[in-house]
Subunit: 267 residues, 4 copies
């Protein structure tokens, strides 16, 4: 291919559009890519599902999708909240746009010691690191979802023995202006559950988690409230959305709850 | 069970909560249920994924999840936009709440005649019928997603022969205050694609759809703009969100575009 | 379209193939269709994911995909094991093949009364009804998956109080030569769990299911063995595969177990 | 925890079972773990979904699930076919079993240069590396799935212009006794498609892939046959299963085909 070839091929996307309808978002999604993510004291390798999009003015026919790829391949530092602002600015400059979003969803791994035996195993957490830009304002959100155990207070209270419990997904999507370690966000969440979960548990550990959950019964409503209180107390978090979903062990459906909170409206 | 039993068991959910944090949404999801849906001139049987949630004031410990089930089992008319207002009012009354949402997602079936042979087959479309209430205001949205063919204008223009094409999902989420037939919303969408898709196509039909798509090349941006113009012209639609996703045949990722538009802000 | 048009269009699929490689299965999948399914004393409407495939001899270039659709649209009785033999024979005749498979996967609904309050709600179960043909022999399998509660015997035994429990999927894929009601297959499965699950449970019911599960602790190994024993005792079942998957409440992964058993090899 | 505590806790799993029903497979699944995978000239980081299972004799009540974790955490070389034999032997020894399976599913990444512009981008392929043991015999399978473009020969032949095309998934599950590079298995597959796919394509590349696909029309049957012939010619592959699925651009369902072939039965 020579420069001449490029000139010869018509650039349909750049032609004028007469429908005059702005497009809020146009981009690519479902891109799977190996990425490096900032961790406490270093970084870790993982795999992300990636989405890039920009806004398109009413008089432009199309965007240039291949530029998103150049942007993605060019990222040269571990993913973290603060560097997302730079990636967003690069994207808006490259695609000559004033709005857009960027989204990386990936599993994040933490080596955890079992509560009694101390045996180590690797736990996985789902993280979504995203940036949204509109009219020049860039907002970065770090969402961490931790699997936990929840144990029903009502079931415990009314039953002669036992209490139904189940795996729950408990998450915080935090609006941040500084880096906030994923490990710290995981800890904030896990401490609000009936009990955290682990990969490997020996019998002594199983005894501990069973009794610990029984001593800490929580409704799905309690989960989101307790996490919300921790988020309010954490200065790095400017606004947040807490979500809990209980995969009920006595039903074939989930119970869920959501709290959204913006500290800037409460100060 | 007697009344006495009920009195004996403590009602933990109804106790007072001192954290004083309102919960925006608490409810159930992942409920799978057989439902009847309003269709042109009648109704059809299908299966829905159902979600119900309400808001909970800061001083209430928990909601009463079983009441959502009573509500669901009590629905006695085919699902449609207008009746959703009634279901919402019943839910808010039953759970003594001022906000919440209701969501039914289901496949909807339309018998279509192939374009040339006229042979009939059943096409499936995904529909999400939802209602959202906040501070007494209820908004009902009917989202219809149609699979269609999109053919790339750039690929057609620059190539000696052929043009890459692929299956796309094209959807309209329409804010409605009256019933609007799903069949009509499907037609509005399909007419904006490079070509609709069918279940059964004979060779004469395949010739037609191949040539028809080639004669109607559309970028993902064209798909959302053309549908948006049709929505603007349709008086029943008060506001809308149009989304297109192309499962690109030359990539392992999707191209997508979104237009949101509220007529009440443009009049 | 006239007969003449059909003659004019070349039939590429019917041409000879010189690679001489037989194809074990060729067909369509991902077809979503409304279906009627036989139930105890009648039938019910549901929605199925459908797959049809045949074998293709080494000298034939392609199969005729549209004939699968004609077959699907022509089914005129409720789905059940015995009628699947007829559908298979029709498919093999229509596509001039000696082997193939047919698969319908659908949710099946049963109205259940809660164990103490007697309040009714609709439970959903996943069913896969399939037929496989090779060299003229047709085997029909009915797989039913029921969500249940499992409670860990080890956790109960070693802990001062409580015991971890969770939702499990417990299934039987039964080879049948007669119709066997899905409701009966569900019951066979549910009776082997620590406790069945329900849609709607009042507090008196919740007390019951909590205590009932605590009194019936089962490992994932116990679940498959207890179901297997029931299947061995059930004369209608000729061979079976039992699977259990526990969505562990103390881990972020599942425990699972499988037993396969063919009575014809044990008699 | 002291040794004494361990002795005190009863080991329920090790107790005798009187139902005398062997369990073919019992283990863990849904484990997400960071792994290192062998690549051409080195190794790469990725994330795997992991499954481990063993067979359990009829007189043993349960297996020891935590040992699977010890095994997983102890793997100290990049994943590849030959080392899987060692992992299997370790598992059977650790769990005192004679049968079982191991399964790693992960995305694998290859940097590809676009066909004309030469611009580089990272493509992702799905790989399943698995081992199965029964009665002491261990079989290792490496399955690679590549997304490709398929273009319909019938549509091309009967239409005045254009031809419907779509993304397809084309895979080979190869039984191997030596290491066989994933990159080589990808290449074998991609060369049999109407055209490979890339992440980033400039306009000159788009012209190439459009024309190249048009010049190489293939039915789903052609895809599996052409790949099968390549597998027969490749000495490293002892037996194989080839699968193709076309996400038809003119339908809302897939066409698919499967060839299974064991060279040891054809020699």
């Amino acid at each position: 291919m020579t420069k001449k070839d490029l000139v010869v091929l018509p650039d349909v996307q750049s032609s004028e559009d007469r429908r005059n309808l702005p497009i809020q978002r146009v981009g690519i999604k479902g891109v799977e890519a190996p990425v490096l993510v900032k961790s406490l004291g270093g970084s870790q390798h993982t795999v992300a599902d990636v989405e890039f999009a920009v806004s398109l003015p009413g008089d432009k026919k199309g965007t240039h999708m291949s530029r998103f790829w150049t942007l993605l391949e060019g990222i040269d530092e571990p993913l973290a909240p603060v560097m997302m602002v730079g990636v967003m600015k690069d994207m808006l400059a490259s695609l000559r746009s004033t709005g857009g979003h960027i989204r990386f969803e990936f599993p994040f791994f933490i080596e955890k010691a079992a509560p009694i035996s101390g045996m180590k195993s690797t736990m996985n957490y789902k993280v979504v690191l995203s940036a949204e830009a509109d009219d020049g304002k860039i907002v970065v959100t770090q969402k961490v979802t931790a699997p936990v155990t929840s144990l029903c207070p009502c079931s415990k209270e009314i039953s002669k023995y036992g209490a139904h419990n189940q795996r729950s997904k408990l998450s915080v999507a935090a609006v941040l202006e500084t880096n906030f370690p994923i490990e710290k966000q995981v800890k904030l969440i896990e401490e609000c559950a009936s009990c955290p979960v682990w990969g490997l548990l020996k019998r002594t550990d199983e005894k501990y988690v069973t009794e610990h959950a029984y001593e800490n019964p929580k409704f799905v409503e309690d989960l989101v409230r307790d996490v919300a209180i921790r988020c309010i107390d954490e200065p790095a978090i400017l606004a947040f959305k807490v979500e809990a979903e209980n995969f009920e062990s006595i039903h074939n459906h989930s119970a869920f709850a959501i709290i959204t909170y913006d500290k800037r409206e409460h100060s």
